[in-house]
Homo-oligomer: 547 residues x 2
């Protein structure tokens, strides 16, 4: 059977554009002689529409769009993803469905059985799980149509108590009883750098176990925090993968399932993938929000330099504007390094000292502050004065402020709420500091865009004289290792200590993570690249007794 | 049977304090001759621990605490709520359980069947639903033990497409086949002013349908945004409710199920309830976070006045500090009204003009702003300068900033991010402006605490000369009606227009709501008093094409 794999980048609730993309791909597939074209999960609406799924007008628009797409299916069939109405008397009102479009209409509907409810997934909120299993017969073949998680046998959890468990049902086991010829999977599986081969392993395992070829179609593109990396593929029943689509971009191929023509992708290391993911994340955020221009504060440090370089790659140098905001504690090299960066990247920049504003705040507050020694309050005034300046530029010219906080800082609360934690989008909030260094080296792989001095100098917030991050924090290698074990692996402080880390350092780190839930509660959306990012995939109570 | 209803206020993850409260109540129940004492859902951990449920050390601590509580159960039995481990090979790793403690040990475990996944509920994320139904036999009676949602037949949704549906199973129907004598329900059901009799109706409906008395125990107290109102009760099989516990506070009573002694509660109107809820919400946030003191900006307007009065009631006048921050656009009466409020409430206040700081920002920005006419950028500088001042006081003295934004403003984005949207807790973010007026009148019911002028003057942000809210917004009566229909009732713009609202006003309002998701993304936690609050009970995609 000749099947087209259409790996597209959808825009949530933008039914017009999504339908146009889908219909264009249907026509292309037909022209290239395909019998069937497969799109990804919830392709009609974009993944994931969240509580828009509770709105009648949204569901009606989705149905109308499906009808419109169905009309394009003449002489070719298509599988698209969309919500469909549960007409029974029990359960949630919707299914997460694969709609089989043929002869100008919806000829069959297959619903998702395994609804993920871990990490960033929340599908049980809106959908009823399917309990009936039937192949679709088409052109003499039996197709086992599944949706994303349906191929996952084990519940992917990282909590370390009890054994890992299976789901209550195995959709593919049920479908395999009907002797299908081919498995089709419509997916919406986001990128995470530490789950690299996880997805392919699942596909291969299923293909081999059931001796069935699998057509796997994932979406690409970013939806606020989530970055979908594509990588759709055709897996043969022996577990080999002759056809693999591109990563982090739209792609399209027609596969003859009997005689697939090889299409391979270059393997990249994880830093190169994170780089691609973040560039796509920025670009799609701006395009889909209809924004064009960025503003960001340039401190001369590595975080803002990396974000600036990523923004230039995503949006073009003429759309990026840097603001340098030195204070009395800024070293000469900070300004020089930031200017060098702006010149290397050829972006517009301005220098505005915050000193007069800071002095004025301190003057006005001095009767209240009663000669108390300077401390966090005064440090935060500096960060917040900078926050006002960049937001003023943002408000005046419509440039969106990019946040430059990295995951290590975000974890331990080493940042000022309403100051440097401001921004429309956090670019590095899921990238540990040790990986920020690697990203900087990667960005400089061909030429020195980020000044060497920004990379090698000791990190500092420069909010008091001669301040360095290491005054109050462990070395980033140690800090990041502890954070990874605590956050990504859910290990307890005692388990981490047992692995050889200093007790005091572990307890202090964990305490900082716990005490700063309140800051993260108000943080911007964070581009997710790991298996456990801060944001809606990690829900911690704010008011609780930690420790 | 003599059963004690223990309605307590738990602290999430504070196992020591929760255990102490529970054991104290067990002893009291025993002293008062009860055979059984019933606590609320997840009473051992507090409701809801979110992803702490994924941490091994948390689950271990919960089990140890249950063992400790069980040891207190000698000569009396108890039903407590806690997570328990699913020892099967399939499904999630935990159940949401009612543990029957007797003779010093856990004698029986009953698991929750219906796991709510709507609005603020997210229980499928962590728990496997129960599928087995067995009464507990105790002292010659058969007890049908259920947990909260288990008594709900219909899925409570507000989406308006398709018919309302039943859950797949009805736990009480299953249990009723075993001829129980009594239904017991351990609950964690939060307050919302517009679902007043919803809960009682469900209980009465079940009691009458199955001809069974029901012991219903709810928790009280606030957990960040959620405010649990208690109102535990005993419902007779004829649907009458002879025993009702107090609202918004801990309460305890021993009921003889054969001959219950009447205990009734005074009925209050919805504004009085919202008032009680918000005072409890503030008090518990501070107590459980171990904070004592508040700071807030006093503008002379009604919102900050109401929040200030609520804070004084919750924490005491000596723990509340007001900061008046006039600018060149502040009218004389603004300062006078704010001073009057502070004096009426007998709180400390300071006056700091923002004008010098604002001037300095404008000076420094003028080379960049290139003589563009003043607008939103300049207005926001004022709001943000105030934000810096109150946060400086907060950082210096440890006072927590209360946010004073109301739900109408929050909905349409009529507030400055990193300015007046700052705060550790939003007190009025779920109270529409029209209800803020009613709250002010209620607060003044005995004496004029809030100056009459703050209530009657036209609302204004005072960020430009002679500005009034009605310059850009419809009257609050109309605005709030549209917002309620769009947000709480999920009605489409067309449905709202059909009810007689001006098309242009509806479309403009809805557009403002949609365009300001990004501001709410970074808003503080909001005390929830309605059936649909902004925050984690309303998940809207940020990047999407609205309209």
């Amino acid at each position: 059977m000749k099947i087209a794999l259409a790996q597209l980048n959808y825009h949530i609730a933008n039914f017009e554009d999504n339908a146009e993309k889908i219909i264009t791909a249907i026509n292309q597939a037909k022209n290239e002689g395909a019998e069937l074209v497969v799109f990804s999960e919830l392709s009609v609406t974009g993944y994931y529409p969240h509580d828009l799924l509770e709105r009648k007008e949204f569901i009606e628009k989705a149905s109308q769009t499906v009808e419109k797409i169905a009309q394009a299916c003449q002489g070719i069939a298509a599988l698209v993803g969309a919500p469909s109405i549960n007409t029974g008397s029990r359960g949630k009102k919707l299914y997460n469905s694969a709609l089989f479009l043929n002869n100008g209409k919806v000829e069959a509907i297959r619903n998702k059985s395994l609804l993920p409810t871990y990490d960033i997934f929340d599908e049980y909120r809106h959908f009823e799980p399917n309990q009936e299993f039937n192949v679709i017969e088409f052109n003499g073949k039996k197709l086992a149509v599944t949706i994303c998680e349906d191929l996952w046998d084990e519940q992917p959890t990282q909590n370390e108590f009890g054994k890992d468990k299976l789901y209550q049902t195995s959709p593919l086991e049920e479908l395999s009883k009907q002797q299908p010829d081919l498995v089709i999977n419509l997916s919406a599986s986001p990128f995470s750098y530490n789950q690299e081969n996880w997805r392919k392993n699942i596909l291969v395992k299923n293909a081999v176990k059931y001796r069935l070829p699998i057509v796997y179609v994932n979406q690409t593109g970013a939806q606020t925090e989530l970055i979908f990396d594509g990588g759709s593929c055709f897996v043969k029943e022996d577990g080999s993968i002759p056809v693999e689509l591109d990563y982090f971009k739209e792609d399209f191929v027609v596969v003859d399932t009997e005689r697939p023509v090889e299409k391979k992708q270059e393997q990249k290391d994880y830093i190169a993938k994170i780089h691609q993911a973040l560039v796509l994340g920025i670009r799609d955020y701006f395009q889909k929000m209809r924004f064009t221009d960025v503003v960001l504060g340039l401190s001369g440090g590595i975080d803002s330099a990396v974000v600036c370089a990523l923004a230039v790659e995503a949006l073009g140098n003429e759309h990026v504007r840097g603001i340098l905001m030195p204070s009395r504690y800024s070293s000469d090299h900070s300004v020089a390094d930031a200017v060098q960066l702006a010149e290397n990247l050829d972006i517009r920049y301005d220098i505005i000292s915050i000193q007069n504003m800071v002095n004025e705040f301190e003057n006005q507050l001095s009767p209240i502050f009663e000669n108390l020694p300077p401390g966090v309050a005064e440090e935060n005034i500096q960060a917040r004065a900078r926050g006002i300046l960049v937001m003023a530029v943002s408000n005046k010219f419509g440039n969106i402020l990019l946040n430059t906080t990295n995951k290590s800082e975000c974890a331990i609360g080493y940042g000022t709420l309403y100051g440097d934690m401001n921004g429309g989008l956090s670019v590095l909030g899921d990238v540990y500091k040790t990986d920020v260094f690697k990203l900087a080296r990667y960005i400089n792989r061909n030429e020195e865009l980020i000044p060497e001095n920004s990379i090698i100098k000791p990190p500092s917030a420069e909010l008091r004289p001669d301040q360095k991050d290491t005054d109050t924090l462990p070395d980033y290698e140690i800090l990041d290792a502890i954070l990874f074990k605590y956050i990504e692996l859910n290990q307890s402080p005692e388990e981490i200590i047992k692995q050889g880390f200093e007790r005091e350092t572990v307890l202090k780190t964990v305490r900082m993570v716990n005490q700063n839930e309140y800051k993260r509660f108000q943080a911007p959306p964070i581009l997710r690249v790991s298996s456990k990012a801060f944001g809606f995939g990690r829900k911690m109570p704010l008011v609780a007794r930690y420790f």
